[in-house]
């Protein structure tokens, strides 16, 4: 199994297209950092225009490494599923398209083993992508903008407000958020693999995965009560942004942040279970379908 995993990783990292995702993330992050370095104050003014009347903020410290990473993650974690789909949805169909799938399946490796190894390799790719994001979006931002307390802008119902997290209470939240993002993106990996099993070329499952993610994300962001109640709970995309929960700090009865707390841990836990069950379902369906598949490519 370890040898097979090594082989799969070797294949993934030998392909130039794998690095498109890393290059895209790097470019977006650098643009953000450049823009905020030279004109971050305008962004802060815009964000604070409704709030600063009743909240005193030192704007020079508001734009710091932690804040930058939060802003970047808010943007990137919508695009990253597409980058993950590029690799995951290609795993089986890409091999079928190249004609290498039939050769692999003439080797003493079971189809279940092969699929699990490909899943694991795609998962590792996803984790590497997140680690790279952490390096440039968090650590590089800290180097450029420094470390200060972090402000989190939050909209809850009709209300907009700001949460302040002290700088010694932030890093663990980022580790947890990246961990959550890894689980969320693994749902995309397993969905991409499932669709990949049915296709003989990469384009179909990649486009299908991206379309499903985009369509579900749009529906997940609709604020219509009937959809909120009856549709959103069943869409995995509703849980992809659950990482933000780690930055919603718990408040005491006088609305003061409680260090080391999370406002709604049970909701995060429930989201994690739902995401894991999606991974289990997609992966099981992929294995069942792949085992029965006639290799005609």
């Amino acid at each position: 199994m370890f040898t097979l995993l090594q082989i799969e990783l070797h294949k993934i990292y030998s392909r130039p297209r794998t690095y498109i995702a890393f290059a895209a993330i790097t470019a977006i992050v650098l643009i953000f950092q450049f823009a905020f370095k030279y004109d971050g104050q305008s962004y802060m003014d815009l964000m604070l225009q409704n709030i600063q009347d009743n909240f005193e903020i030192d704007k020079s410290k508001a734009i710091n490494g932690y804040f930058m990473c939060y802003i970047i993650l808010n943007t990137l974690l919508i695009q990253v599923p597409i980058l993950v789909a590029l690799v995951a949805a290609d795993t089986i169909s890409g091999e079928a398209n190249m004609g290498t799938l039939r050769l692999m399946l003439t080797k003493p490796v079971s189809r279940t083993q092969l699929l699990l190894v490909k899943f694991l390799a795609s998962f590792i790719f996803t984790v590497c992508l997140l680690i790279w994001m952490a390096i440039i979006a968090l650590f590089l931002s800290i180097l450029i903008f420094g470390q200060e307390d972090m402000l989190v802008f939050r909209v809850k119902g009709e209300e907009s407000f700001i949460l302040q997290i002290t700088k010694d209470d932030i890093m663990w939240r980022y580790f947890a958020a990246f961990g959550y993002a890894a689980i969320a993106l693994t749902v995309i990996v397993s969905l991409g693999m499932l669709l990949s099993v049915f296709a003989e070329n990469s384009i179909g499952p990649i486009v299908a995965t991206v379309c499903i993610v985009l369509f579900f994300t749009i529906v997940s962001n609709m604020n219509i009560p009937v959809i909120d109640r009856n549709v959103k709970p069943y869409l995995f995309t509703s849980y992809l942004v659950g990482w933000k929960g780690f930055f919603y700090i718990g408040l005491d009865c006088s609305d003061q942040p409680i260090k080391g707390s999370i406002e709604n841990w049970p909701a995060i836990k429930k989201s994690i279970y739902i995401l894991l069950s999606h991974i289990g379902f997609f992966l099981t369906m992929a294995i069942i379908s792949f085992r029965k598949k006639d290799i005609l490519s």
Binding site: L103, T106, L296
Partner: protein, 310 residues
Amino acid sequence: MNTVLQINQISKSFKDFKAVDNLSFKVNQGDIFGFLGQNGAGKSTTIRMLLSLIQPDSGSIEIFGMNLNTHRNEIVRKVGAVIEKPDLYKYLSAYDNLKLFAKMSGIKVSKSLLMDQLELVGLATRYDSKVGTFSQGMKQRLGIAVALVHNPELIVLDEPTNGLDPQGIADIRNLILTLSRDRNKTILVSSHLLSEIELIANRMLIMHHGKKVVEGDVKVLLDPSKTILKIETGDNSKAFELISKSNWTKGLENIQNQIQLEITKSDIPDLVRFLTAHQTDIYLIQNLHSLEDYFLKLTNPKEDVHAVTN
């Protein structure tokens, strides 16, 4: 002689299209077994079934005396295959491709082993070149190296000369003969060219529309003094029993309601007299006097066959 591969009445349909219909044959140890048929005859489907890429609808496949369904991994460890054009990873070098598939075969991989294989197929000097830069013939040879790297006992080559120039075809042919003669490999090689099979195989089978048409020793099938005879009678069971008690039992088979046997041409009138003497009506007697003629006849189904009735 040990049977390496035994296929028992396998069939496979794709929706309404029957790709392989009740096919049975066997390959013995040391054979170069030619698997002949036009494009679309069902050769590749059969080969994919015996490599467990496709599941047959019915029938069974035994390789090295083991059932393919229940002992797949044990079997494929001893089988090497090139299926149609060998597609490899274009972005990897020849050496890396070979190493990757050797590791998948579960063998201990060393540089000398891999270089030996590349030497065998004449690619040692290009070991570091990306496969994307290779010609079709070079890819084909690398595909064969991949098939051989784990030292398999049975080698399955599906149309290995497709798309090759005459020199490439000759190289592959020589390689097959070398593998059989020097390394005692059992080889199943499919082709749509009788001339190709004739040059390398000792036994052969012809398929047409998913069915077996004829199977036997190449020398016998192509011997001008001998022939394969197909007979259809009013009562094939009775005729089969009668012939099986006669002197004409070589290659005797009852294939899809037609009796088939190997016979010397001069014995054909005696056989006809023998059957009619036992009150057997003969509706059709087909003399496959030239296998090449017969094979060409398959490509032109309007051609008549001789019929004799009493």
